[in-house]
Symmetry: C2
DNA sequence: CATTATTGGTTTAATCATGCAACCATTCTT
DNA sequence: AAGAATGGTTGCATGATTAAACCAATAATG
Protein backbone atom coordinates (compact mmCIF):
# COMPACT_ATOMS: atom_id res chain seq x y z
CA UNK A 1 0.00 0.00 0.00
CA UNK A 2 3.00 2.25 0.04
CA UNK A 3 3.17 4.28 3.20
CA UNK A 4 -0.48 4.94 3.68
CA UNK A 5 -0.41 8.56 4.55
CA UNK A 6 -1.34 9.44 8.08
CA UNK A 7 -4.09 11.98 8.56
CA UNK A 8 -3.09 12.94 12.06
CA UNK A 9 -2.06 16.37 10.87
CA UNK A 10 -5.33 16.99 9.11
CA UNK A 11 -7.57 19.51 10.81
CA UNK A 12 -10.75 17.71 9.84
CA UNK A 13 -12.00 15.66 12.79
CA UNK A 14 -13.52 13.08 10.46
CA UNK A 15 -10.15 12.51 8.86
CA UNK A 16 -8.51 11.98 12.22
CA UNK A 17 -11.17 9.51 13.20
CA UNK A 18 -10.58 7.60 10.00
CA UNK A 19 -6.90 7.62 10.77
CA UNK A 20 -7.69 5.65 13.92
CA UNK A 21 -10.53 3.37 12.87
CA UNK A 22 -10.69 3.81 9.13
CA UNK A 23 -8.98 0.68 7.99
CA UNK A 24 -10.61 -2.43 6.73
CA UNK A 25 -10.86 -4.38 9.99
CA UNK A 26 -10.85 -1.99 12.93
CA UNK A 27 -14.50 -1.01 12.85
CA UNK A 28 -15.54 -4.63 12.50
CA UNK A 29 -13.49 -5.46 15.57
CA UNK A 30 -15.13 -2.58 17.41
CA UNK A 31 -18.54 -3.78 16.28
CA UNK A 32 -17.80 -7.20 17.71
CA UNK A 33 -16.57 -5.57 20.89
CA UNK A 34 -19.93 -3.81 21.20
CA UNK A 35 -21.45 -7.23 20.66
CA UNK A 36 -19.65 -8.38 23.77
CA UNK A 37 -16.68 -10.23 22.32
CA UNK A 38 -13.52 -9.86 24.34
CA UNK A 39 -11.07 -12.64 23.49
CA UNK A 40 -8.55 -12.93 20.69
CA UNK A 41 -10.04 -16.20 19.57
CA UNK A 42 -13.58 -14.85 19.58
CA UNK A 43 -12.67 -12.02 17.27
CA UNK A 44 -10.70 -14.35 15.08
CA UNK A 45 -13.51 -16.81 14.71
CA UNK A 46 -16.14 -14.15 14.20
CA UNK A 47 -14.25 -12.21 11.55
CA UNK A 48 -12.22 -14.85 9.80
CA UNK A 49 -9.30 -12.43 9.91
CA UNK A 50 -5.72 -13.62 9.65
CA UNK A 51 -4.24 -13.94 13.10
CA UNK A 52 -1.23 -11.75 12.46
CA UNK A 53 -3.47 -8.98 11.18
CA UNK A 54 -5.76 -9.34 14.16
CA UNK A 55 -2.76 -9.13 16.47
CA UNK A 56 -1.66 -5.94 14.79
CA UNK A 57 -5.13 -4.38 14.77
CA UNK A 58 -5.79 -5.15 18.41
CA UNK A 59 -2.45 -3.66 19.33
CA UNK A 60 -3.23 -0.52 17.36
CA UNK A 61 -6.69 -0.21 18.89
CA UNK A 62 -5.20 -0.57 22.36
CA UNK A 63 -2.52 1.98 21.55
CA UNK A 64 -5.20 4.37 20.30
CA UNK A 65 -7.11 4.02 23.55
CA UNK A 66 -10.18 2.39 22.03
CA UNK A 67 -9.63 -1.01 23.58
CA UNK A 68 -7.90 -1.93 26.79
CA UNK A 69 -6.23 -5.16 27.76
CA UNK A 70 -7.47 -6.33 31.15
CA UNK A 71 -7.06 -9.55 33.13
CA UNK A 72 -9.88 -11.87 32.20
CA UNK A 73 -12.75 -11.58 34.63
CA UNK A 74 -12.98 -15.36 34.86
CA UNK A 75 -9.81 -15.43 36.85
CA UNK A 76 -7.14 -17.12 34.75
CA UNK A 77 -4.06 -15.37 33.55
CA UNK A 78 -5.65 -14.83 30.17
CA UNK A 79 -6.41 -11.34 29.11
CA UNK A 80 -9.44 -9.85 27.47
CA UNK A 81 -9.95 -6.88 25.22
CA UNK A 82 -12.56 -4.43 26.40
CA UNK A 83 -13.90 -1.17 25.06
CA UNK A 84 -12.64 1.86 26.93
CA UNK A 85 -14.83 4.87 27.58
CA UNK A 86 -13.34 6.35 24.44
CA UNK A 87 -14.18 3.18 22.56
CA UNK A 88 -17.76 3.33 23.73
CA UNK A 89 -17.95 6.83 22.28
CA UNK A 90 -17.79 5.15 18.88
CA UNK A 91 -21.34 3.99 19.53
CA UNK A 92 -22.93 6.71 17.39
CA UNK A 93 -20.62 5.81 14.51
CA UNK A 94 -21.73 2.20 14.73
CA UNK A 95 -25.39 3.18 14.92
CA UNK A 96 -25.05 5.52 11.95
CA UNK A 97 -23.35 2.87 9.85
CA UNK A 98 -25.95 0.34 10.88
CA UNK A 99 -28.85 2.58 9.97
CA UNK A 100 -27.36 3.38 6.60
CA UNK A 101 -26.95 -0.31 5.91
CA UNK A 102 -30.47 -1.11 7.05
CA UNK A 103 -31.93 1.56 4.81
CA UNK A 104 -30.00 1.00 1.63
CA UNK A 105 -28.17 -2.30 1.59
CA UNK A 106 -30.85 -4.87 2.21
CA UNK A 107 -33.52 -6.18 -0.12
CA UNK A 108 -37.01 -5.40 1.21
CA UNK A 109 -37.79 -9.01 2.06
CA UNK A 110 -34.35 -9.76 3.44
CA UNK A 111 -33.87 -10.27 7.14
CA UNK A 112 -31.31 -8.21 8.97
CA UNK A 113 -30.23 -7.57 12.50
CA UNK A 114 -31.76 -4.70 14.37
CA UNK A 115 -30.70 -2.35 17.12
CA UNK A 116 -33.28 -2.04 19.85
CA UNK A 117 -33.72 -0.44 23.24
CA UNK A 118 -32.90 -3.13 25.78
CA UNK A 119 -35.63 -1.93 28.10
CA UNK A 120 -38.56 -1.64 25.73
CA UNK A 121 -37.49 -3.65 22.69
CA UNK A 122 -38.27 -0.69 20.46
CA UNK A 123 -35.87 0.28 17.64
CA UNK A 124 -33.50 3.08 18.49
CA UNK A 125 -33.34 6.22 16.41
CA UNK A 126 -30.48 8.51 15.53
CA UNK A 127 -31.19 12.19 15.25
CA UNK A 128 -29.17 15.21 14.28
CA UNK A 129 -30.52 18.38 15.76
CA UNK A 130 -29.67 22.02 16.21
CA UNK A 131 -29.68 23.55 19.67
CA UNK A 132 -33.22 24.72 19.15
CA UNK A 133 -34.39 21.20 18.35
CA UNK A 134 -34.73 21.50 14.58
CA UNK A 135 -33.63 18.41 12.68
CA UNK A 136 -30.53 19.12 10.60
CA UNK A 137 -29.83 17.56 7.22
CA UNK A 138 -26.76 17.91 5.01
CA UNK A 139 -28.05 21.10 3.47
CA UNK A 140 -28.81 22.79 6.77
CA UNK A 141 -25.31 22.17 8.07
CA UNK A 142 -22.11 24.04 7.46
CA UNK A 143 -18.58 22.98 8.18
CA UNK A 144 -16.53 25.79 9.59
CA UNK A 145 -12.89 25.27 8.78
CA UNK A 146 -9.77 26.50 10.43
CA UNK A 147 -7.43 28.52 8.18
CA UNK A 148 -4.74 25.91 7.60
CA UNK A 149 -7.05 23.04 6.71
CA UNK A 150 -5.42 22.85 3.23
CA UNK B 1 -3.79 -7.08 -0.20
CA UNK B 2 -5.01 -10.45 -1.37
CA UNK B 3 -8.65 -10.48 -2.31
CA UNK B 4 -10.15 -8.46 0.46
CA UNK B 5 -13.15 -10.46 1.37
CA UNK B 6 -16.52 -9.01 0.52
CA UNK B 7 -19.04 -8.57 3.30
CA UNK B 8 -22.08 -8.38 1.07
CA UNK B 9 -23.35 -11.67 2.41
CA UNK B 10 -23.03 -10.63 6.02
CA UNK B 11 -26.29 -10.02 7.79
CA UNK B 12 -24.93 -7.17 9.89
CA UNK B 13 -25.94 -3.85 8.36
CA UNK B 14 -22.76 -2.21 9.65
CA UNK B 15 -20.67 -4.76 7.81
CA UNK B 16 -22.51 -4.12 4.58
CA UNK B 17 -22.02 -0.41 4.96
CA UNK B 18 -18.33 -0.96 5.47
CA UNK B 19 -18.29 -3.07 2.36
CA UNK B 20 -19.42 -0.02 0.42
CA UNK B 21 -17.59 2.85 2.10
CA UNK B 22 -15.18 1.10 4.41
CA UNK B 23 -11.98 1.47 2.48
CA UNK B 24 -9.30 3.96 3.12
CA UNK B 25 -10.39 6.65 0.68
CA UNK B 26 -14.12 6.38 0.06
CA UNK B 27 -15.30 8.16 3.18
CA UNK B 28 -12.81 10.95 2.63
CA UNK B 29 -14.16 11.40 -0.88
CA UNK B 30 -17.69 11.47 0.53
CA UNK B 31 -16.61 13.98 3.15
CA UNK B 32 -15.27 16.24 0.41
CA UNK B 33 -18.47 15.74 -1.54
CA UNK B 34 -20.41 16.99 1.51
CA UNK B 35 -17.98 19.91 1.48
CA UNK B 36 -19.20 20.75 -1.99
CA UNK B 37 -16.43 19.31 -4.15
CA UNK B 38 -17.65 17.85 -7.42
CA UNK B 39 -14.78 17.59 -9.89
CA UNK B 40 -12.14 14.93 -10.35
CA UNK B 41 -9.38 17.48 -10.01
CA UNK B 42 -10.85 18.99 -6.87
CA UNK B 43 -10.90 15.65 -5.11
CA UNK B 44 -7.44 14.87 -6.33
CA UNK B 45 -5.99 18.13 -5.10
CA UNK B 46 -7.82 17.98 -1.78
CA UNK B 47 -6.87 14.42 -0.92
CA UNK B 48 -3.51 13.98 -2.59
CA UNK B 49 -4.74 10.59 -3.76
CA UNK B 50 -3.16 8.83 -6.72
CA UNK B 51 -5.22 9.51 -9.79
CA UNK B 52 -5.75 5.91 -10.80
CA UNK B 53 -7.04 5.10 -7.34
CA UNK B 54 -9.32 8.12 -7.40
CA UNK B 55 -10.66 6.98 -10.76
CA UNK B 56 -11.35 3.55 -9.34
CA UNK B 57 -12.94 4.85 -6.13
CA UNK B 58 -15.19 7.31 -7.92
CA UNK B 59 -16.30 4.56 -10.25
CA UNK B 60 -17.09 2.30 -7.30
CA UNK B 61 -18.98 5.03 -5.47
CA UNK B 62 -21.02 5.74 -8.59
CA UNK B 63 -21.70 2.04 -9.05
CA UNK B 64 -22.81 1.80 -5.43
CA UNK B 65 -25.26 4.64 -5.92
CA UNK B 66 -23.57 7.03 -3.53
CA UNK B 67 -22.34 9.45 -6.19
CA UNK B 68 -23.79 10.21 -9.59
CA UNK B 69 -22.07 11.55 -12.65
CA UNK B 70 -23.97 14.51 -14.05
CA UNK B 71 -23.23 17.06 -16.75
CA UNK B 72 -21.48 20.00 -15.15
CA UNK B 73 -23.91 22.71 -14.21
CA UNK B 74 -21.61 25.30 -15.74
CA UNK B 75 -22.58 24.13 -19.19
CA UNK B 76 -19.47 22.57 -20.73
CA UNK B 77 -19.20 18.94 -21.62
CA UNK B 78 -17.34 18.23 -18.41
CA UNK B 79 -18.96 16.09 -15.82
CA UNK B 80 -19.26 16.46 -12.10
CA UNK B 81 -19.69 13.99 -9.28
CA UNK B 82 -22.59 14.68 -6.98
CA UNK B 83 -24.02 12.98 -3.92
CA UNK B 84 -27.19 11.04 -4.62
CA UNK B 85 -30.03 10.90 -2.10
CA UNK B 86 -28.48 7.68 -0.85
CA UNK B 87 -25.12 9.41 -0.56
CA UNK B 88 -26.66 12.19 1.49
CA UNK B 89 -27.97 9.54 3.86
CA UNK B 90 -24.36 9.06 4.90
CA UNK B 91 -24.60 12.39 6.67
CA UNK B 92 -25.12 10.86 10.13
CA UNK B 93 -22.04 8.70 9.62
CA UNK B 94 -19.98 11.76 8.81
CA UNK B 95 -21.36 13.66 11.77
CA UNK B 96 -20.69 10.76 14.12
CA UNK B 97 -17.12 10.40 12.90
CA UNK B 98 -16.62 14.11 13.19
CA UNK B 99 -17.91 14.28 16.72
CA UNK B 100 -15.75 11.38 17.79
CA UNK B 101 -12.72 13.12 16.32
CA UNK B 102 -13.59 16.42 17.94
CA UNK B 103 -13.98 14.80 21.31
CA UNK B 104 -10.97 12.54 21.40
CA UNK B 105 -8.45 13.36 18.73
CA UNK B 106 -7.63 16.99 19.28
CA UNK B 107 -5.50 18.58 21.94
CA UNK B 108 -7.55 20.96 24.10
CA UNK B 109 -5.91 24.06 22.71
CA UNK B 110 -5.86 22.85 19.15
CA UNK B 111 -8.14 24.40 16.58
CA UNK B 112 -10.42 22.19 14.57
CA UNK B 113 -13.25 22.55 12.13
CA UNK B 114 -16.77 22.53 13.46
CA UNK B 115 -20.16 21.53 12.19
CA UNK B 116 -22.79 24.16 12.74
CA UNK B 117 -26.40 24.87 11.90
CA UNK B 118 -26.33 27.08 8.83
CA UNK B 119 -29.27 29.10 10.06
CA UNK B 120 -28.20 29.87 13.60
CA UNK B 121 -24.48 29.17 13.65
CA UNK B 122 -24.96 26.89 16.63
CA UNK B 123 -23.14 23.53 16.81
CA UNK B 124 -25.22 20.55 15.76
CA UNK B 125 -25.78 17.64 18.08
CA UNK B 126 -26.18 13.97 17.43
CA UNK B 127 -28.55 12.02 19.62
CA UNK B 128 -29.51 8.40 19.92
CA UNK B 129 -32.92 7.93 21.44
CA UNK B 130 -35.51 5.30 22.07
CA UNK B 131 -39.06 5.80 20.84
CA UNK B 132 -40.04 7.20 24.21
CA UNK B 133 -37.29 9.84 24.02
CA UNK B 134 -34.80 8.32 26.44
CA UNK B 135 -31.18 8.71 25.36
CA UNK B 136 -29.64 5.37 24.55
CA UNK B 137 -26.02 4.45 25.19
CA UNK B 138 -24.13 1.29 24.28
CA UNK B 139 -25.33 -0.48 27.42
CA UNK B 140 -28.99 0.34 26.89
CA UNK B 141 -28.95 -1.05 23.37
CA UNK B 142 -29.22 -4.59 22.16
CA UNK B 143 -28.47 -5.97 18.74
CA UNK B 144 -31.02 -8.50 17.65
CA UNK B 145 -29.53 -10.90 15.20
CA UNK B 146 -31.07 -13.05 12.55
CA UNK B 147 -30.44 -16.79 12.85
CA UNK B 148 -27.77 -17.24 10.15
CA UNK B 149 -25.60 -14.31 11.16
CA UNK B 150 -22.82 -16.71 12.11
C1' DC C 1 -7.05 30.78 -35.26
C1' DA C 2 -2.89 28.70 -33.33
C1' DT C 3 -0.90 27.74 -28.97
C1' DT C 4 -0.90 26.50 -24.43
C1' DA C 5 -2.98 24.98 -20.06
C1' DT C 6 -6.34 22.26 -17.70
C1' DT C 7 -9.16 18.34 -17.06
C1' DG C 8 -9.77 13.68 -16.57
C1' DG C 9 -8.05 10.15 -17.06
C1' DT C 10 -4.76 5.34 -18.54
C1' DT C 11 -0.50 2.75 -18.28
C1' DT C 12 3.64 1.08 -16.14
C1' DA C 13 6.92 -0.26 -12.70
C1' DA C 14 8.14 -0.48 -7.90
C1' DT C 15 6.71 -1.02 -3.16
C1' DC C 16 4.51 -2.16 0.76
C1' DA C 17 0.42 -4.15 3.31
C1' DT C 18 -2.26 -8.19 3.59
C1' DG C 19 -3.48 -13.03 3.82
C1' DC C 20 -2.33 -17.77 4.36
C1' DA C 21 0.01 -21.43 6.35
C1' DA C 22 3.21 -23.23 9.44
C1' DC C 23 5.24 -22.99 13.77
C1' DC C 24 5.65 -22.17 18.89
C1' DA C 25 5.21 -21.24 23.96
C1' DT C 26 1.98 -21.10 27.57
C1' DT C 27 -2.13 -22.33 29.83
C1' DC C 28 -6.35 -25.13 30.53
C1' DT C 29 -8.67 -29.73 30.58
C1' DT C 30 -8.98 -34.53 31.65
C1' DA D 1 0.99 -36.39 31.93
C1' DA D 2 -1.21 -35.87 27.29
C1' DG D 3 -3.79 -33.29 24.43
C1' DA D 4 -6.29 -29.23 23.16
C1' DA D 5 -7.11 -24.42 23.18
C1' DT D 6 -5.19 -19.73 23.53
C1' DG D 7 -2.56 -16.15 21.80
C1' DG D 8 0.42 -15.26 19.34
C1' DT D 9 5.17 -14.91 15.70
C1' DT D 10 7.51 -15.69 11.30
C1' DG D 11 8.09 -16.13 6.21
C1' DC D 12 6.57 -16.03 1.73
C1' DA D 13 3.35 -15.13 -2.28
C1' DT D 14 -0.10 -12.09 -3.81
C1' DG D 15 -1.88 -8.06 -5.17
C1' DA D 16 -3.51 -3.46 -3.86
C1' DT D 17 -1.61 1.16 -3.80
C1' DT D 18 1.46 4.61 -5.22
C1' DA D 19 4.19 7.87 -8.01
C1' DA D 20 5.32 9.13 -12.39
C1' DA D 21 4.97 9.45 -17.17
C1' DC D 22 1.97 9.78 -20.86
C1' DC D 23 -2.30 11.11 -23.58
C1' DA D 24 -6.66 12.80 -25.77
C1' DA D 25 -10.18 16.19 -25.45
C1' DT D 26 -11.65 20.55 -23.97
C1' DA D 27 -11.02 25.43 -22.36
C1' DA D 28 -8.42 29.56 -22.15
C1' DT D 29 -5.22 32.90 -24.14
C1' DG D 30 -2.90 35.88 -27.37
Amino acid sequence: MVARKSLKGDYCPSARSLDVIGDWWSLLIVRDAFDGLTRFGEFQKSLGIAKNILTERLRTLVASGILELAPASEGGTRMEYRLTAMGKDLFPVMVALRQFGERHLFAPAEDHSLLVDRATGQPVQLEIRARDGRTIGPDEALILKVPEEK
